[in-house]
Symmetry: D2
């Protein structure tokens, strides 16, 4: 467990009260945890902007009846197999599938992989979560 440091700052009273209400409303145990989360969120954003090695999850919704789409999606993933950590498939109904694919790599490479998955015909929706390896958090 990492060493904690004590940090103090001054803030206008009315702003302080609004901060306290926000912490409570968002369900945080305490203010420290809320501010830590806010800082971590900013760090992750910077990691993606600076093209560092990060982790992301691509989520796909697609029609598996579309000819050769599954093979195409699998091919694309195998081509980048060293980036892909895990892929989980869910059968939504008779026709539709959802897939979530966790990826580790440079931010730019992950974005390109997500784009190439999105562009396949039959893919109805593709979206990328930008997260982090956690080492810098």
């Amino acid at each position: 467990m990492e060493k904690l440091v004590r940090l103090s700052m001054s803030i206008e009273k009315s702003l302080f009260q609004k901060l306290e209400r926000m912490v409570e409303r968002r369900g945080y145990e305490n203010r420290s945890e809320f501010i830590r989360d806010t800082v971590r969120e900013m760090i992750v954003d910077e990691q993606w902007k600076k093209n560092e090695v990060v982790i992301g999850t691509v989520m796909l919704v697609y029609d598996h009846n579309r000819r050769e789409l599954s093979e195409k999606l699998t091919d694309l993933q195998h081509h980048q197999h060293d980036m892909i950590l895990a892929a989980t498939h869910v059968h939504l109904d008779q026709n539709l599938c959802a897939e979530m694919i966790m990826v580790r790599g440079k931010a730019g490479d992950i974005t390109r992989l997500a784009d190439s998955l999105r562009q396949q015909r039959g893919v109805l929706h593709a979206k990328l979560i930008t997260s982090s390896t956690g080492k810098e958090l």
Copy 2:
């Protein structure tokens, strides 16, 4: 396979040329697919705003050494087991884990679940992908 309709529209010549370059640069086979994707993206945004039944994926990065965190996260998921479609865990290193959890439910309920996962101490990052059941796409 669903019936396609033909749709035509007028557009300024210079804007048309920029659209064509954008379609190419983003790697789309053709303009139709690009515009369809854009429309689908807007539909998904509206589904989330209107609190419809949608699909999302929550991604977590956390420190599994944190006392009782894993149990807490599992508890939270079991409490909402009817919403959770699948959860996949990846061991990032000695200490850190990443998890992706696919969820189906009302947009507001999914957002609340993601918030309650994020607030646990030891969770370093939590983010939600907003997608769709695909039925309306």
Copy 3:
């Protein structure tokens, strides 16, 4: 000048160091000011979500040669004259104009006004800044 309160919190050492670097890189004099700005930004977001009385600025870029567009835009603004605080016009070149319009009102009403300005033919771009009356900041 409002009374300041002293607030202290604990934070992991490595996260603290990253926070300090972020404060410096973004050009803030000190950490307190950076955190205050972050909290204020969240308050403004909540004000817009809750449809409170806020302030926004609509920016338009349009082609003034488009028949009757200027009259149409002026009409739309007069129709909402009680919301509009100020409007400034800039002649960008022979054909193009830019306008910035500061508006006070309920968040939803401001959004609708921005939408109705955007929809006019000849308006090439319209965008809304979401800000605040400052009373709650």
Copy 4:
């Protein structure tokens, strides 16, 4: 007035119906105008990412009682006078002011100017609209 070209595309029937409803709900006269606006929005985003010469509006809310703040803000603007097209000031109440400042320049320079205005003590909120000179739209 620029020459229009005719563009046609194929789209699934159910998606087409949803597009039509979206066009109507957002108050557009017709589908062409809606799609043109969507394309223009993407072009503006790319212009900012590529650091092209663009137009933006910075909106500030601040407390004019704060010692020397007005002078500081004016100084900062004069220092960049060749970028600033127009600045309009509104007195919100006894203490608070709002200002909207239209700026033309490289995307990065505009962002830096907005950041330096935001960092001044007494500035409660600062936000930047990213728009365009309209030439590419």
